[in-house]
């Protein structure tokens, strides 16, 4: 079932991270399942335990099903200084989840992340591939509404 992805990469361990990215990005729940790990292990001829170790090391990968939209709020010092804690509180309130959790409707997963390199616009978050900067509570409300309102 992952042939389409495997086709693009030679069966070498160095392609593991690429393959995992792609499997995750194409999964509707944006995660890497145990089954996927077995397939990758088979294709790359490496041990499943190695893949599990790699998978849990990098923060961009998830071994648990996630929401349709992944919110990654930066909590590094520059964003912290500009109020990321307040933003987290607001997001948690809006979505009724804690960091690391997925909303019950499966629409959002709220994650905290390290510096996204957009510190000039702190506080910053990413939703999926999109970056949102200079966040304020009002701005957050609007952004979230644009996802729940079916605009995005």
């Amino acid at each position: 079932m992952y042939e389409e992805i495997f086709k693009k990469y030679t069966p070498e361990k160095e392609n593991l991270i690429y393959i995992l990215h792609e499997i995750q990005d194409t999964h509707p729940q944006q995660y890497i399942s145990e089954e996927a790990v077995e397939w990758v292990a088979e294709y790359l001829q490496i041990e499943p335990s190695h893949i599990f170790g790699v998978l849990t090391f990098y923060t961009m990968f998830s071994t648990k099903p996630r929401g349709k939209n992944i919110i990654r709020l930066c909590e590094s010092p520059p964003c912290f200084l500009r109020g990321s804690e307040k933003m987290l509180k607001r997001l948690a309130q809006l979505l009724k989840v804690k960091a690391g959790e997925t909303t019950s409707d499966g629409l959002f997963t709220l994650e905290l992340c390290a510096c996204l390199g957009v510190c000039g616009n702190a506080p910053v978050m990413m939703i999926n591939e999109d970056v949102y900067g200079d966040l304020t509570e009002e701005k957050l409300d609007k952004i979230i509404a644009s996802y729940t309102g079916g605009e995005k």
């Binding site: 077995e38 292990a41 041990e47 499943p48 849990t56 090391f57």
Partner: protein
């Protein structure tokens, strides 16, 4: 010859080959640098940081992974280093479940030792420990993340020495945890139960699934008839644990201790080691003579068997169908012995004492019930036996030498050397030679199979009764990493006739149930003790074991008879590399 490097360690001049790590160079200068993760048998993981030393004109460096350089001036102890080590040990303790009095490693624990040596006082650092569930899923091994100090030795030994790849790291940073894939538990991983991780664990985070309470319950239950067997490697180890000359083989005191603890019959696994040779030797001869599947590969080591089922099911038909000596013994107790003595086998509790954790897994395999009951009920490791002897308050060192009970207690030197790498090969060749040539070998010592080389090979020429000759290419591997290498050669088509595999480095004397911290040097010494006992034995070939012959005459018929096949042989499965579960049977019982 590699280049030699001169350095000083605490003012002592030493010369070591280029590339030597400071920690080894210091040892040469008589200085043991403290560490929590480094073990001389294993490549340095360089995780704990405790071994940092001062070097002139350099920042502090880890002694375990820093190679020496010419003119290096090392200081291994100073005010600064002591304070540093204290802080590191304090930090480690703050994230460790400190339950020393009841820990299996109490008295042997490397963390306990170091904390004691450094005089760590009650720390004013807060505890970091967040209790995690203990993994009791495996029949062999318990994994306790609350004690783990992330030294990395278990993963090194599992992945590099044994190439089993059951253990891995989950997560990152402080949350990093040694676990199995997707934290499914040891039972649902490719773990082969070899237990090498338990031997190298410095703190008791990996240990055996204990049967001590169950065995005491049986011993203290008057309705139970409790029978014990002991593997050859155990007797080569007990002495060192009870302050005796470590080279001494303590078989007589072992029997005395077991009897004193209340076992109703004290037999010896060596008996079925000889029986195994009769069965396996005959299987080998049959296959060689009739053009059967070659090479024949030994089946005594349950860690190897599960490894084979997981990674090399393609050689399953090569593996001898013989059960291991433990399991042959279990079946024979609840059939042959029960019949002979007129004891209801349902009342029998069959206990084995093994240097091995995989035997606990083997005993509960569903196939291992040919007596109509679970053939072996409980398996104790050497370590558990030692604790039981201590609990019983026995002065082991001064116990009288006793003998094993009759019927299944006799053994030969060939059985004794089962405990060391190459021993099964040597024992099998002695008997196969006798059967094929019609006479004993002139020299029973087959030294090419002895010693700690990872893979040992020989070309033998056996003279046949009818005047011909039979050339045999045979090989011995111990440690599953070596087994893997050898199997890759077999799969590639290289011709072998007979191969002995033991899962653990050094063979059973280096088993996963042997004392914590057993080093390669300890294993080599125990092996030599067994060879010494063999040399001193009156009978040194399995076919000269009269009780074994009697068992054939009275009960089994002849080697490889139908009944022998029913009771003493088994079949194999293919297993998932992910979960270790059986996928399908790959061989079938006759």
């Amino acid at each position: 010859m590699s280049k030699m490097i001169n350095l000083t360690v605490d003012g002592i001049e030493v010369q070591v080959p280029e590339g030597t790590a400071i920690i080894s160079a210091a040892k040469k200068a008589g200085k043991n640098i403290p560490t929590l993760c480094y073990h001389p048998d294993l490549p340095a993981t360089a995780n704990c940081g405790v071994c940092v030393v001062e070097i002139e004109k350099s920042p502090l460096k880890r002694a375990c992974c820093t190679p020496v350089w010419e003119g290096m001036n090392v200081t291994t102890n100073s005010h600064k280093l002591r304070e540093l080590r204290k802080t590191l040990v304090e930090l480690t303790l703050s994230n460790h479940d400190v339950v020393c009095p009841t820990c299996v490693q109490n008295g042997k624990c490397e963390l306990q030792d170091l904390a004691y040596h450094l005089g760590i006082q009650a720390s004013d650092l807060p505890s970091l420990l967040e209790k995690k569930p203990i993994d009791y899923s495996s029949p062999s091994i318990v994994r306790d993340p609350n004690k783990c100090i992330n030294c990395g030795r278990c993963i090194t030994v599992c992945a590099q020495t044994q190439t089993v790849f059951a253990l891995t790291l989950d997560g990152r940073g402080f949350e990093t945890m040694v676990t199995t894939s997707f934290d499914r538990g040891m039972a649902n991983s490719p773990c082969v139960n070899c237990g090498q991780c338990t031997v190298y664990c410095p703190v008791g985070a990996l240990r055996e699934q204990t049967h001590i309470d169950s065995v005491w319950d049986a011993l203290l239950d008057p309705d139970k008839y409790v029978i014990v067997q002991e593997a050859p490697a155990v007797r080569a180890t007990l002495g060192e644990e009870f302050g005796m000359n470590p080279e001494e083989v303590t078989v007589g005191k072992m029997y005395a201790a077991l009897r004193s603890m209340g076992f109703d019959r004290v037999f010896d696994t060596n008996f079925t080691a000889d029986l195994t040779i009769m069965e396996e030797g005959m299987e080998l001869i049959n296959r060689v003579v009739t053009g059967g599947k070659l090479p024949v590969i030994t089946s005594c080591s349950p860690g190897w068997i599960k490894f084979m089922e997981t990674y090399f099911p393609c050689v399953a038909e090569n593996v001898s169908t013989c059960k291991s000596p433990q399991q042959m013994f279990g079946t024979m107790i609840k059939t042959y012995f029960a019949e002979k003595e007129g004891i209801d086998p349902s009342k029998i509790v069959s206990v084995s004492i093994m240097p091995c954790t995989a035997k606990k897994f083997e005993a509960q395999r569903p196939e291992m019930r040919d007596s109509g009951f679970q053939d072996v009920d409980y398996v104790l490791t050497t370590r558990e036996l030692i604790r039981m002897i201590e609990e019983a308050g026995l002065d082991f060192k001064n116990l009288p030498d006793e003998k094993a009970d009759n019927l299944m207690g006799e053994y030969t030197g060939a059985a004794t050397i089962f405990g060391a790498t190459g021993g099964v090969m040597e024992a099998a060749v002695r008997t196969a030679y006798f059967v094929l040539a019609g006479k004993e070998m002139a020299d029973l010592n087959l030294t090419p199979f002895r010693g700690m080389a990872g893979i040992k090979e020989a070309n033998l020429v056996v003279p046949l009764k009818d005047g011909g000759e039979l050339p045999l290419h045979v090989a011995v591997a111990h440690g599953l990493g070596n087994a893997r290498k050898l199997m890759e050669r077999v799969v590639a088509g290289e011709v072998f006739h007979f191969i002995e595999i033991m899962a653990c480095p050094g063979g059973c004397v280096g088993g996963g149930g042997q004392p914590f911290g057993s080093s390669i040097a300890d294993r080599a010494r125990r092996g030599q003790s067994l060879y010494k006992e063999d040399a001193a034995a009156v009978k040194r070939t399995s076919h000269s074991n009269s009780e074994v012959m009697k068992a054939y005459a009275d009960f089994l018929g002849e080697p490889n008879s139908h009944k022998a096949h029913q009771l003493l042989h088994t079949n194999y499965f293919e297993r998932s590399k992910v979960t270790g579960d059986c996928v399908k049977a790959v061989t079938h019982k006759h």
